[in-house]
């Protein structure tokens, strides 16, 4: 390990972004992207467990075929609120707003994001949106499904549709501002020598995600506004009884909400690219293909929304084209999986927790992607759409994909974020529990779906019970699996082993500064002379390390006294 320390000034400064200032005000008015990332970390965690409680209520209700635990009205609110909280307030912000916020500047060698105040503003916007939504849910809730299909949402529902919509509308601006901030930062604030093709793939995927955020989010905002106009002012937009078109709503809704799936999964793919390369100490196989596949997914992602509407009454020719494009978008995703697998070839693969999550991600993403082919095949989709087959498929992508990548990334960068190591044994155990629990929850739902069990059913015919009992058992395991990291990560902040600057022995810029980093990230702005994922043996590392350490040491001189 001596060799690694050569990266760093001999005695790292004890001042870091966490202890640089104290007091609530120093957090609530911070402009430091790392502190804002922690604010986001706390809030998305809160929303995740809120959404998780609703998931548990769903799974308890579905243990028995008869709707005997909740009333129909309550059950409908429960699954709606589960979806809204998980999608808009956990899955969409989880990776970009926490890990992305923390790492985008560090990975490109910048001191902060381009617009630190806007970054703080985006967190407050998120919080205001989230608070309004939570208030709406507690005041009486909303029962439209997270999809808000009109005319049910505009004319028939007697729940807090508009208030919930306002919450989502507001939180959308947080997404837009984060995306804007990332794009400007990546364009203008890369360290000298950090060319586009030296960027870690995490940055490429966040760039692609940001494009979707700023292009797609305004459309959901418009859709919510139109929905509110119709609900409050009875202007006929979607309800045919007053001259509207309900299929129009679905077009508008999915024009955002399909790309939103890529807002959730692309950052996850970025995390997994980092984990696979770094924990096998191999440069990623086909760097440019992986980088551009992110952009390809972002672009194609805007052209496939109609595959949610194969039975909606849209034109059959439109359906045919959307089906074709959906198959096409599968290719860049497949390319990523092949490249990750090929990266492992002749690597030096460690079984640290982040890598377990990355391997789990690939496994679940494989199943999620493969079942996506069934849904892109229109003739099969007609049978399985709006059944548990679809529910299982999108949980494999959004939970199996995004959640596992998020947890993997959180463990991977935890030493950098907190300055402490997490307990490896517990972490591996939790990763295994999450993987097993997840599969037990959602694999049976594919079968139930093909057998015909419709989604959003409060009560169901008894022949589906066996699959629901398996699902509920799996969900309790999965829920436990997500609680374990909550406990030990909080524990580790106080009691965990102190982390070195570079505990994983990696070349990325974020590992070339102390853990936790100082407020300005790097004492001296780094100059990048190496390619992405250029791993070196300990001896070579020393050479590379001292060359750069020299730069750091120059700047460290004034503070070197402690």
């Amino acid at each position: 390990m001596r060799a690694i320390e050569a990266f760093e000034p001999p005695l790292p400064s004890k001042v870091n972004y966490i202890n640089a200032q104290y007091g609530l005000k120093s957090w609530l008015l911070t402009k430091d992207h790392k502190r804002i990332a922690l604010l986001y970390l706390g809030s998305v965690t809160l929303f995740f467990f809120f959404g998780g409680i609703y998931a548990m209520l769903i799974r308890i209700e579905l243990l028995t075929p008869r709707g005997d635990f909740l009333s129909s009205a309550t059950y409908n609110k429960v699954f709606t609120q589960h979806g809204i909280l998980m999608i808009f307030f956990f899955l969409i912000p989880a990776i970009p707003a926490t890990l992305g916020n923390f790492l985008v500047p560090m990975m490109i060698g910048a001191k902060d994001l381009a617009f630190p105040r806007i970054n703080l503003l985006s967190w407050y916007i998120y919080l205001v949106g989230g608070t309004i939504t939570i208030y709406a849910l507690l005041a009486g809730g909303v029962d439209t499904g997270w999809t808000f299909y009109a005319p049910y949402s505009t004319t028939f529902s007697n729940s807090y549709v508009v208030l919930t919509g306002v919450g989502i509308f507001i939180s959308g601006f947080s997404s837009i501002l984060t995306g804007l901030n990332f794009i400007v930062t990546i364009h203008t604030m890369r360290a000298p020598g950090m060319t586009w093709f030296r960027l870690p793939l995490f940055i490429w995927s966040h760039y692609a995600t940001s494009l979707i955020m700023i292009l797609g989010t305004p459309v959901i905002a418009i859709t919510i506004l139109l929905l509110a106009f119709e609900r409050l002012a009875h202007i006929g937009i979607f309800d045919p009884a007053i001259g509207g078109d309900p299929v129009l709503f679905q077009h508008l809704f999915w024009f955002y909400s399909h790309p939103a799936v890529y807002i959730m999964i692309l950052p996850g793919m970025g995390v997994v690219s980092e984990l696979i390369a770094n924990f096998s100490r191999k440069n990623i196989f086909g760097y440019k293909f992986v980088a551009f596949s992110s952009l390809a997914i972002a672009i194609f992602g805007f052209l496939v929304w109609g595959h949610h509407m194969f039975v909606s009454g849209q034109s059959v020719y439109a359906g045919m084209i959307f089906s074709f494009l959906s198959f096409a978008v599968a290719i860049p995703s497949a390319v990523k999986v092949f490249n990750w697998t090929a990266t492992l070839y002749k690597g030096s693969i460690s079984y640290d927790t982040p890598m377990l999550y990355a391997l789990g991600f690939i496994g679940l993403f494989l199943i999620g992607g493969m079942t996506g082919l069934f849904l892109a095949s229109i003739a099969i989709d007609v049978h399985v759409t709006d059944t548990y087959f679809v529910v299982a498929h999108f949980h494999y992508i959004m939970v199996g994909g995004t959640l596992l990548a998020y947890l993997g990334g959180l463990h991977y960068w935890w030493p950098k974020i907190s300055g402490r190591m997490y307990p490896e044994g517990w972490a591996r155990f939790a990763a295994l529990v999450v993987f097993v629990g997840f599969n037990l929850t959602f694999l049976p739902q594919f079968v139930a779906g093909y057998l015909g069990m419709p989604r959003r059913y409060h009560a169901y015919p008894p022949e589906f019970q066996v699959f629901n009992v398996l699902s509920s058992a799996g969900a309790s395991i999965l829920g436990t699996g997500t609680l374990i990291p909550l406990v030990y990560l909080i524990w580790s902040m106080r009691y965990g082993r102190h982390a070195e600057a570079n505990p994983w022995n990696l070349p990325g810029l974020e590992w070339r500064t102390q853990s936790p980093p100082p407020t300005e990230n790097f004492i001296v702005s780094p100059v990048v002379t190496w390619e992405a994922y250029e791993f070196a043996s300990p001896d070579e590392m020393e050479v590379v390390g001292t060359r750069h350490a020299a730069r750091f040491e120059d700047a460290e001189a004034p503070a070197g006294g402690d």
């Binding site: 129909s72 089906s323 599968a330 409060h458």
Partner: protein, 339 residues
Amino acid sequence: METGWISWLPEAASTMASKVDALFFYLSGVTAFFTLLISGVLIFFVIRYRRRSPFEIPRPVAGSHKLETIWSVIPFVIAMSMFVWATQLYFQQVRSPKLATEVYVVGKQWMWKVQHSTGQREINELHVPKGRKIRLIMTSEDTIHSFFIPAFRIKADVLPGRYTDQWFEATKTGTFHLFCAEYCGMNHSGMIGSVVVMEPREFDNWLTGNGGNQSPAVAGQQLFQSLGCASCHGVNGEGGRGPTLAGLFGKQTLLTNGQSVIADEGYIRESIVNPQAKIVAGFTPIMPTFQGQVSEDQVLQLLAFIKSLHIVNPQQPVPAASPVNTRSQTAATPPPNLK
């Protein structure tokens, strides 16, 4: 339900079901093969190339354009085979056959109302004969529903304000699930019923068994009188101040704006509830809207009456003589959702 592995599949009780299952098996086979292949390679690499000493640095491996091309093209070709198969099957699914018995379906929170062409009505049940093609013409009184029969592998959304349709031919007698698949509010999971497939002879008995039902066409004729339609369109739809209705169905109609439209179910429905939307060439927009004055059931009855009107001015609109109301006159008409 059979035993063994078959019970992992829903019953296949329509001509479409076995075709969809065949495609499903193809996809299952291909995707299972590649899932196992990829995860097998992955697991092999993870074990074979595990880290053996803490500081080992493997030799970098350069990417390969050849490999990237191979593993882009092969999945694309396989995906296209799925696309072509699934899409041509889908076109069979949406293109209603020329000779099909029509059944009207109206969805409302939270029940399915069904009316046969002989007038037989059902709620949350649909009786059909085995081996005959049935075409469902569907609409909703309130929000969006979806008519889903898993054993037939068919599903189509049922929308307010317009007609959608789907067809099937049952191949097995028995009772099968009918589900609403599009979330429609509080009692969505109670909007279920059963499809009863009977031997054709039994079915014909069942149809005639509950006598005294007016056929939709006859009920429609009475409405046509009582609503005052006849004063402009003529007692037998021969026309007057309003356009001729006899023989209209399925024909190309010229509009005042120079466009033309095929007079399908959707057009006729629109002309009743929103007459100003499309004005037939040579007529003035004098017709009042009937929105709110007629229920979806009644619109369907009017539609059945208009369909039954032939140019040769029949004294009495003839309700289909046989329970099978073949709609030969509409042979050239695409289903409404094709427009």
